[in-house]
């Protein structure tokens, strides 16, 4: 287990290192000069050049990368020249909004997906099943920001649109003010979670142990919740891990629509201003969250399904990890089919 965690942490560091390099490369490639953006049209080229030198923008990319990493190892995320404040401060201010929004959306996904999946799985391909699947897939086809606009249009008819919007939009009354953006994200991502769970339930129901349980005379609901449901959770939780990453990316755009001062809005402002340090900091954080969530998903799955735990033990003793993991998954699948 320790070995597994250490390996995961090394993976995490490598991933983050690569992401930082990608952001560096992107900023070298995209046009736009941060000093010119700060000074606008009325500044002379000499003034722009002076500001560039002051901000250290005239240095080579290698110097910039070296400085960035040495600062990062000292726990310093840098200084945002757009806001004239340390990046860490800006991120700590914005993070609670995004985190809350993402978790709220996630909560909606779970409370909607589980009952809908159970309903749909009761009679596969029935009218109800088709209805649930078609409507959730329609929602999947609508991007979250557009879903947000639809919701706003629907609820505006009764003057409910985003009370206060951006005014006093704080975490104290967050449950009230955030339900619409959270729902917009949730609806667009609901189908993925729902379908995973539905398919998994249907698959489990066909398996022998369920038939045995029914044969023994266990009640329908008992079989459903203690046998089928628990075993259907592994793929569902894996899917939720993926969805959580998507929920984060969804909230970046939603924040623009609903005037939420979270990471997404900071990121857009940062990229527009070519504020390299702030962009880097936010991307780094989001990457970390996604990698971390996947790590947690792995841990939870091991807890729920002892088979994964056992096989991981073997797995991480071997150096040929990727190949074995694939083989491992194939074994698991065939076991399930049997």
């Amino acid at each position: 287990m320790t070995r597994y965690i250490v390996k995961k942490i090394i993976d995490m560091i490598i991933t983050i290192f690569i992401i930082v390099l990608i952001v560096f490369a992107m900023f070298e490639l995209i046009p736009g000069n941060p000093a010119r953006i700060m000074l606008g049209m009325n500044a002379s080229n000499a003034q722009v050049a002076a500001l560039e030198a002051e901000l250290g923008l005239d240095k080579s990319i290698f110097v910039k990368i070296y400085t960035y990493f040495s600062d990062l190892f000292n726990g310093d995320l840098g200084f945002s020249f757009r806001f004239q404040r340390p990046v860490i401060e800006l991120i700590t201010e914005a993070l609670p909004y995004t985190l809350f929004l993402a978790l709220y959306a996630f909560f909606f996904i779970i409370i909607l997906a589980i009952p809908l999946a159970i309903l749909a799985a009761r009679k596969p391909n029935s009218k109800l099943d088709n209805f649930i699947r078609i409507s959730s897939e329609t929602c999947l086809a609508i991007p979250p920001f557009f879903m947000a606009i639809i919701l706003m249009l629907i609820f505006r008819t009764s003057q409910l649109a985003l009370q206060g919007g951006s005014v006093d939009f704080d975490l104290n009354n967050a449950f009230q003010s955030y339900w619409m953006p959270a729902l917009a994200i949730a609806l667009s991502r609901l189908a993925m979670a729902m379908e995973f769970l539905r398919d998994s339930i249907i698959e489990q129901r066909e398996s022998d142990y369920v038939k045995t349980a029914i044969g023994k005379g266990a009640s329908r609901s008992r079989v459903m919740f203690f046998h089928i449901f628990r075993n259907s959770l592994v793929p569902f939780i894996t899917a939720l891990g993926l969805i959580l990453a998507e929920v984060f990316s969804g909230s970046i755009i939603i924040e623009q629509v609903f005037l939420i001062p979270g990471l997404g809005r900071s990121l857009v402002t940062a990229v527009e201003a070519r504020d390299f340090q702030l962009t880097q900091g936010i991307v780094l954080l989001i990457a970390f969250i996604v990698v971390f969530v996947n790590f947690c998903v792995d841990l939870i799955n091991q807890f729920i399904d002892p088979r994964i735990r056992e096989q991981n033990k073997k797995l991480y003793k071997s150096r040929n990890t990727f190949f074995l993991r694939m083989k491992n998954q194939a074994n698991l699948d065939s076991q399930k089919k049997r």
Binding site: L90, Q159, G164
Partner: protein, 520 residues
């Protein structure tokens, strides 16, 4: 009811209950604001009253609050309320003494002497002295630290104080009759280094708080030096990501003043808001790169000027609120503006001109900053106009940062649509966009005669002669078809019907000192 239906109905009612619970309070609040607006309708012309707080929506995140460093127009419009200059620009383009009780200009327009007002205090309680004035001017002109912060002040040679007389005299390197227009420069206290984050001035409002992505707050200055202090107790500049996003808040009555309205949104808001079009000092131009084919040929540029239906742009893009321009200056430049230039619009002639000179099947590109809807839409109308004379125009949209570095600074474009905005009523600043050695000359216009006139106008002091020269230069820009001057778009502002006193200036600012709640 079978088991399945029962489960479904319980589940659905749970969802319904949850959403109703979440909406309840917002519903009642929205209703209240709706009733309010009905009650206060048509009272905007009424008496002023003290107190109240106002929320003004802005779409740009401020940069530095230091008035000498702030570059973004969106910052200047906020910090205007924290500071005073030696003089104040009035709505009719004249100047009124502010922190200077009076001023005197030498005959050669080289020495400006200001009598400084007494008993004025900064927000931190410190009294205004001649030293603060000297510091402010020297700091902005870069005399004390070698960094020029306000480009127009590079002309200052020296600044001297006379504490006995409470006077400050400014000596210029050369004559500049425009100089007084720059003396709206904010006066800041000497020895205060936190201006960028916690601005301190003598203005009618005191800075209280800035939350990035959220708001800038200010409250009234109880010790303001003018006879009347501000009407409003508190003002919040609320940061919204875009004008479209603000519409919902405007409809709910959460924003009292919104200065970036597009005219098509008026109908949605007309019950709760009054509208003002500010004659901002702004020139929207279709900039033609004079060194890129085919616009290096004056005949092609001429044909473009004839082909564009400016009235159509005003109607389609600014909904009849803009003013068609033939000059590179806006009418708010007062006497410097040449109002005698005639419209060149004649599409048949334009087509003929191109055909006669062997320009058939012309293909051109218009690069636009995509974040400015007005310029994108203008480019669309231009493309349509050009299509009518057989010219194919492609519109290329880029983001603001790319536009600034590639199009403006890099001059790497064939043509572009942009609005030139000016802080000062200084004709030289406006026409510097066409002066060939200037960094601002992003259209690469080059005419030695124009350059000579430009230099001459700056060196003489006789006002009549200056006006004549500036008129001549504007005529020259049209004759050469340097670019296609389209319109003065005007800034549309929505103001809640509960408010009065909103004043506009030929400068891009939000003056909250004059705004008040109308007495019931």
């Amino acid at each position: 009811m079978n088991k399945r239906n029962k489960f479904l109905s319980v589940f659905l009612s749970f969802i319904l209950l949850f959403s109703v619970a979440c909406q309840d309070s917002s519903d009642s609040e929205a209703n209240i604001s709706e009733e309010d607006s009905e009650v206060t309708e048509d009272l905007s012309q009424g008496e002023s009253q003290q107190g109240g707080s106002v929320i003004l929506g802005i779409t740009q995140e401020p940069d530095s609050f230091d008035p000498h460093l702030a570059a973004a127009a969106g910052t200047k419009e906020i910090i205007y309320n924290f500071f005073d200059g030696l003089v104040k620009l009035m709505p009719d383009s004249t100047f009124e003494p502010a922190l200077a009780e009076s001023y005197d200009v030498s005959d050669d327009a080289k020495i400006f002497t200001f009598k400084i007002r007494e008993n004025v205090t900064f927000h931190n309680g410190k009294e205004l002295t001649v030293d603060d004035v000297v510091y402010s001017l020297e700091n902005a002109a870069g005399i004390n630290d070698g960094t020029l912060k306000v480009p127009q002040l590079s002309i200052i040679d020296s600044v001297e104080a006379d504490p006995e007389q409470n006077e400050v005299s400014v000596t210029l390197k050369e004559s500049d009759a425009d100089f007084i227009t720059y003396m709206t420069l904010a006066i800041v206290p000497e020895d205060y280094s936190e201006q960028a984050t916690e601005p301190i001035g003598t203005g009618p409002f005191v800075f209280t708080e800035y939350q990035p992505q959220q708001h800038v707050k200010m409250e009234k200055n109880e010790n303001y030096w003018r006879e009347r202090i501000a009407y409003l107790d508190e003002v919040t500049f609320l940061i919204v990501p875009s004008a479209d996003a603000a519409i919902v808040d405007l409809q709910a009555g959460n924003i009292d003043i919104f200065p970036y309205l597009t005219a098509d949104k008026k109908d949605l808001l007309k019950d709760q808001y009054n509208f003002v079009t500010a004659d901002s000092n702004m020139v929207q131009v279709w900039g033609l790169n004079n060194q890129e084919e085919p616009f290096d040929d004056p005949i092609v540029r001429k044909a473009m000027d004839m082909a564009v239906d400016k009235q159509m742009i005003v109607e389609a893009v600014t909904f009849g609120e803009g003013k068609v321009l033939e000059s590179g200056m806006a009418p708010s430049m007062g006497q410097y503006y040449n109002s005698n230039l005639e419209s060149q619009y004649n599409p048949e002639e334009a087509k003929k001109l191109l055909e006669e000179n062997g320009y058939s099947d012309l293909n051109i590109t218009i690069t636009v900053p995509g974040n400015y809807v007005i310029h994108v839409q203008t480019a669309e109308v231009i493309a349509e106009n050009l299509d009518a004379i057989g010219v194919q125009a492609d519109i290329k949209s880029v983001d603001w940062g790319t536009w600034l570095s590639d199009v403006f600074q890099g001059r790497n474009h064939q043509s572009t649509v942009i609005a030139l905005t000016f802080d000062h009523v200084a004709p030289a600043t406006v026409l510097s966009y066409y002066y060939s050695p200037s960094d601002m000359n992003f259209i690469n216009y080059s005419n030695p005669e124009f350059d000579a006139l430009f230099e001459e106008a700056q060196s003489i002091t006789n006002e009549d002669q200056r006006v004549k020269l500036y008129h001549e230069m504007q005529q020259m820009l049209q004759t050469d078809a340097a670019s296609v001057f389209i319109q003065n778009p005007g800034v549309q502002t929505a103001i809640s019907k509960k408010l009065g006193g909103y004043t506009t200036y030929p400068q891009y600012v939000q003056d909250m000192y004059e705004v008040y709640f109308v007495a019931e």
